[in-house]
Structures are given as C-alpha cells and as structure tokens.
C-alpha cells in the first residue's frame, strides 16, 4: 500500500513555494528551457484571432484599458484621444508575437517587447505595420540580460508582464529586476493564474483538454502563484500594490470580464515606491 502511495504521490499537485518563505532557489535565469521549447513550436499561429491565441487577443479588451487608465491616472499630461499614451515608455516582458505590444504602440506609447524565444520576436517584427515602426521595437533577450544593460536601468514608465509569471521559476528576482528597470513611481502590471483547485480543474484541465482554449501542456499548475504571495513579493521588492482584481473567461463567447473572484485569473498593478 505504501509503495503504491509513494508512486502515486508524485502526481499530487505540489504547492509552489516562494523563496521568501522557505528554501532558496539558485537560478541564474528565470527562464525554463522546456517552456522555451514549447513556445517555439507555436510561434506561427500568434496572429490568428480565432486560432490558438484567441483568448489572448480577446484579453486585450480587458488589459489595454486597464494599463491605459492606470497610466493616465498617475500622470498629469494632457492627452489626445487617439494616442493617449504618447510620451510613455513601456516594456512588455514575454511579449510573444506582440499581441499586447502592438495596441500599446498604437495608442502612442514607445514600446519595447522582449521575449526569450527568438521565433516569437521574428513573428512580432514581421507583423509590425509601417505606421508603428518608429515607436515599437522588439529584442530577443531575457529580463536579466536587459538588466545588465545600463541604458535600460530606471528607464520605463511601466512594465507589463502579462500571462508570463506562471512560466517563470524565480518570481522574486523577476520582480526585483523589474524594479531595477522602472522609473521611481513607475507601474508594474502582472496578469496571471491563481493556484487553486478551481484553477487546476478549470484553468488547466478544462482549458487545455476540454475546451482547448490553450494547447495542452501550456501551463504547469505547480508554477501558478497565489495573489497573496505575489503581493508579498511585490512589497518585499519595494512596491505598493494599487489594484488586485480577479478576471474570468467565458470559453463559449471568448470574452473576458472583471470579477470579484480571483480563483482562476487575476491582475495586479503595483507602483514602485
């Protein structure tokens, strides 16, 4: 019986431990090589709005207004109605094929998108339309590599890491690096998945195997992080959390909406002190 239990125990979901709470993780980079390989295979279907990334495209209806409103609130610039983010410098970490970077650039911001997978960067670059060429750039680097470049230190008004931290090993140093690149009082936006039973059954099993919202194997439940833990990490790294909201996805209509429940997806906006 006990042998059976031991062999089965490896299938039990393990709660993700945060560096600040228990054992140290010494990793040089926050990027996992297996994750990188998985995305390499998917880079060609990024811009099909009804394809594998349909949910990320429709998520823009939530996250662009979110970023836009928080940025405009914290600034005193007068804005024009078509390009309200003119003058803002933004960094999109884990930009993938550029689904989030392009709308931000279209709203007038000067955007740099970075991703560890060079195929994603090529896809994103290929997709840039001529009118965006002067304020949208992509770089095939990781966040850590960017931090080593002195030009980018304290350069950005806001850094967005949307649907990214659930693929990262060391979230603590990730946030630390974000803090290095942000101007004082700059904003950090994170959207990710919670680590709950609901997110396991709905966010992983149902999403990947039943509704096929994302390809199977996209997410590893062990890497999901609870909002409370993420808030602790933010505060440890010198941020104050401004907004902490739940989001819910309707797979039938392919539409997202804000929710009081953070059981599956949530979004946080934090400001550097």
């Amino acid at each position: 019986m006990s042998i059976l239990f031991r062999s089965l125990s490896k299938f039990l979901p393990r709660l993700r431990s945060i560096t600040v709470l228990s054992r140290p993780l010494s990793v040089q980079s926050s990027v996992d090589p297996d994750e990188v390989n998985r995305f390499r295979q998917l880079s060609s279907s990024w811009w099909n709005e009804t394809g594998e990334y349909a949910a990320l495209h429709s998520l823009n209806q939530l996250r662009i207004p979110f970023v836009r409103e928080q940025l405009l609130q914290s600034s005193t610039q007068t804005n024009d109605v078509i390009k309200p983010l003119k003058g803002f410098k933004l960094l999109d970490v884990g930009c993938g094929g550029g689904i989030l970077s392009e709308p931000l650039a279209r709203l007038g911001a000067s955007v740099l998108g970075i991703d560890a997978v060079s195929e994603n960067i090529s896809t994103a670059r290929f997709h840039i339309e001529p009118s965006l060429k002067h304020n949208l750039n992509y770089k095939d680097v990781t966040l850590e590599e960017l931090c080593e470049n002195v030009e980018h230190i304290e350069k950005y008004d806001a850094i967005i890491a949307s649907e990214v931290v659930e693929h990262i090993n060391d979230v603590d140093s990730f946030i630390g690096n974000i803090g290095k690149l942000l101007k004082p009082k700059g904003l950090c936006f994170i959207t990710t998945l919670n680590q709950t039973a609901a997110s396991y059954f709905l966010g992983v099993i149902a999403a990947e195997y039943i509704f096929r919202i994302v390809p199977p194997g996209t997410h590893t439940w062990n890497k999901f992080i609870r909002p409370s833990d993420l808030v602790i990490l933010f505060e440890k790294n010198g941020f104050s959390v401004l907004v902490n909201n739940g989001m819910v996805y309707n797979p039938i209509t392919n539409r997202w909406s804000w929710s009081t429940s953070k059981a599956i997806n949530y979004a946080i906006c934090a400001a550097k002190n």
Binding site: E49, S58, Q61, I64, E129
Partner: protein, 405 residues
C-alpha cells in the same frame, strides 16, 4: 415621431471622397501583389444609399476616425438635388427616436429638418474605374448585396407572396393637421399612409403578388379610388367579429377605465403625384454572418424586413450606430480596427436584435393575412384592448420607436 420626413441622399460637408463606379465593380482580394497600383484606404463603404451615407457621416463625425481615409462607393453619378420646393420622392421612411438621436448626434438633424441644400466640400465625383485596397469593407449595398454573395455568406430568406406599392398622395384640402400615421390591416395586406406635410402623404400598400400588376395598371383616378375604398370600406369587416369585439369591449370598460381615444377619420386622397407609383417584391432576409475578416454588412444587405412596421431603415441606422460604437472602442483599445474580435462584438449585438424583430414582424404579417374567423376575432379584440388600455399601447409604441430611454 409625429412628423415624418422624406430623407433623400442629402450629403453634408464631410471629409471623404466619393467615387462613382460602374455597377460592374468587382471586389477582389489580391494579396500581396495586386495587379494594378491600388489606392490605399482605411475603410470603404460600398453603397451610398440611406444607410451607407449615414455610415460615412458617422465616421466623419467621430473624433477617433479623423485621420483615416474613408471612401464611399455609389453607382449613381449624379448627386440628388435636395430642395424644399421639389416634389417628394416616393421612397419615404419613418425615423424612430433612436435614428433621430443618431442624426442629432451626427449634426445632420437640423439640415434634415430644413431640407435645404448645403454645399458639400471636398467631394470628388469621378466616373472611372478605381482600384482600392482597403483595410475594412462595409457592405451597404441593399438586400441583393453582391458583396455578400461574393463573400459566400449564406442567408435565411423567404419571399412573401406580396408586393409593396408606394406612391406619393395628395390629400383633400380640408384635412386637419396631418400628423397621424394610418395603417389598416386588410385581408390582402396592410395599407399605410404616412404624413409628409399638411397636403401630402406617402403610401405603402402591401398587396398579394397576384394583385400587384392590376394595381399598377390602373389609371391614377382608379388607383386613388381603390386607396380611399381600402381605408374606409366596411366590406372587409366580418360581422361576427365586430359584434363580439363590441360586446367584450362593453364588459371590460366596466372594469378597466378606458383611456380617452381620439377618433379621427383617415385622410381623403384626391390625387397621386405623377409617376410616383412603384412596386417591389417583399421578402425576409437575414444573413447568417454579419461579419467576416475585414468585412461588415450593414442595413438591408444584412437583414430585410416586411415594411409594415416601418422598421427596415431604422434597423439599418441601428447597425450604423452599433458598428461605429464598436469600432470606436477598438480604436480606444489600440486595436487594429479591422480586428475580428470587435467585428464579432458588432455581429453578436445586431444579430440578436434584428433577428428578433424580423421574426416578430413576420409573425404579425402572418397573423393579419388570415381570414380564418377565430383568428380574426382574437386579433381584433387584442388590438382594441391594446388601443384602449394605455400602458399596453405605450409599451408597443415605445418598442416601435426603439427609444432607449
């Protein structure tokens, strides 16, 4: 809406180019190498009728589209001469509250009310073949939309066994304030009379297919006689139904206080405007998809309804309002305004509303097409009840006017 106007293609000062193209214009999707150097535009509206023009006006009035190039394609090369002194056109529409609000917002309402010509600036009328490469194509080309056919969008449609006859009517001199719209449900189909001014009204008469040829072949005097007879004759009433309705009415008036109804006679027609009589076949149509990548259908190309409730063009204006709102939201969110995600939002909202309306008017048409006495009794009693019981009447009037307040 007490005063109904004749709305023709009165174009106001708009920052767009209008091209006149031959009716043999083709739409092709040549990518990435078009055969002939093409002009790049952001939005092309195919069809310069009521809905297409309203669409162009809505874009012109929107601050989110002020830097975009919008093109309106229309096959008639002459701009219509809009003036108060010209005779009324025989194609008239009744605008509901929502449509009026739309035009008020677009700044066109004052012009429409005064029916005066305003100088159109920056218009190019060209009679040549033009090759356009567009970001978004909006099809406003009517119920036989060639764009919809070319896109291979399937439709639900059926023909009514009816034709609609329109004409502009001259009223007798002793008609009081002509502000009431009349509709009478004959067994052959509804006949409606919409006021244009104190001396003129517009006719929309639905007749069975078998009758329309003979109606069109009548002389003007005979036709006018037929209209007057249709409005006043009692031969259509079934005695049984009349007595039943009267009896029931006397019962419920003892329980429910009847709201005072103003009784008025329908206007007497003395003449019709020369050459204003026309007939066209009626059908119901709903496109199964209102959008495709880079394509949106608005107006009759997406849905066609029986004219009896005056809803057709109002639904088209509703499409215009919804599509512009959705596209403005797309621009506010930094999306490429061709983004299918936003076009689908438009489709979902409009399909639900339009299909519901199409089918309920269709049901009403069927209800009034029968001579079967029990049904006639039920509907007569129902109609009298609604007419006298004011909360019901207000509800239906509000639905017809589509007012959102």
């Amino acid at each position: 809406m007490r005063q109904l106007l004749s709305l023709r293609r009165s174009l106001v000062s708009i920052r767009f180019s209008s091209y006149s193209v031959s009716s043999g214009a083709t739409v092709s999707h040549d990518w990435p190498n078009p055969p002939v150097p093409a002009e790049n535009v952001d939005v092309t509206i195919a069809g310069g009728g009521l809905v297409g023009s309203a669409m162009a006006l809505a874009f012109a009035a929107s601050p989110f589209f002020k830097n975009r190039k919008i093109v309106l394609l229309e096959s008639q090369s002459k701009l219509p001469n809009v003036s108060k002194n010209q005779p009324y056109s025989n194609r008239v529409c009744a605008l509901n509250t929502q449509s009026v609000n739309l035009f008020r917002k677009l700044g066109a309402w004052d012009l429409m009310k005064s029916v005066r010509v305003q100088k159109v600036s920056r218009m190019q009328l060209q009679d040549e073949k033009v090759n356009l490469q567009t970001g978004l194509l909006i099809a406003a080309d009517g119920y036989q939309s060639s764009i919809r056919e070319m896109a291979g969008i399937s439709t639900i449609q059926w023909n009514y066994d009816q034709f609609g006859i329109v004409a502009t009517l001259q009223l007798a001199d002793n008609t009081p304030d002509n502000v009431v719209a009349w509709q009478r449900f004959l067994p052959t189909g509804p006949i409606a009379c919409l006021p244009l001014s104190n001396t003129h009204s517009s006719l929309v008469w639905t007749v069975p297919k078998s009758m329309h040829k003979s109606m069109m072949n009548l002389t003007d005097e005979q036709f006018v006689d037929e209209i007057n007879k249709a409005f006043t004759s009692d031969t259509y009433k079934q005695d049984v139904v009349v007595s039943m309705t009267d009896r029931l009415r006397s019962y419920w008036q003892q329980i429910i206080p009847a709201s005072p109804t103003i009784s008025q006679w329908p206007p007497t027609i003395i003449n019709i405007e020369p050459r204003s009589r026309a007939a066209f076949p009626l059908s119901l149509l709903n496109a199964n998809q209102y959008v495709r990548p880079r394509l949106a259908l608005v107006g009759d190309s997406a849905h066609r309804i029986h004219p009896m409730a005056g809803q057709g063009v109002n639904m088209g204006f509703g499409d215009v309002e919804c599509l512009v709102k959705v596209l403005e939201q797309a621009v506010r969110d930094g999306a490429d305004f061709n983004s299918l995600t936003y076009l689908v939002d438009y489709e979902r909202q409009r399909q639900a509303q339009c299909l519901a309306r199409l089918l309920s008017i269709d049901a009403l048409n069927r209800l009034y097409s029968t001579k079967f006495t029990p049904v006639v009794a039920l509907r007569s009693i129902g109609l009298s009840f609604v007419n006298e019981f004011s909360p019901f009447k207000k509800f239906f009037a509000k639905q017809a006017a589509s007012s959102t307040s």
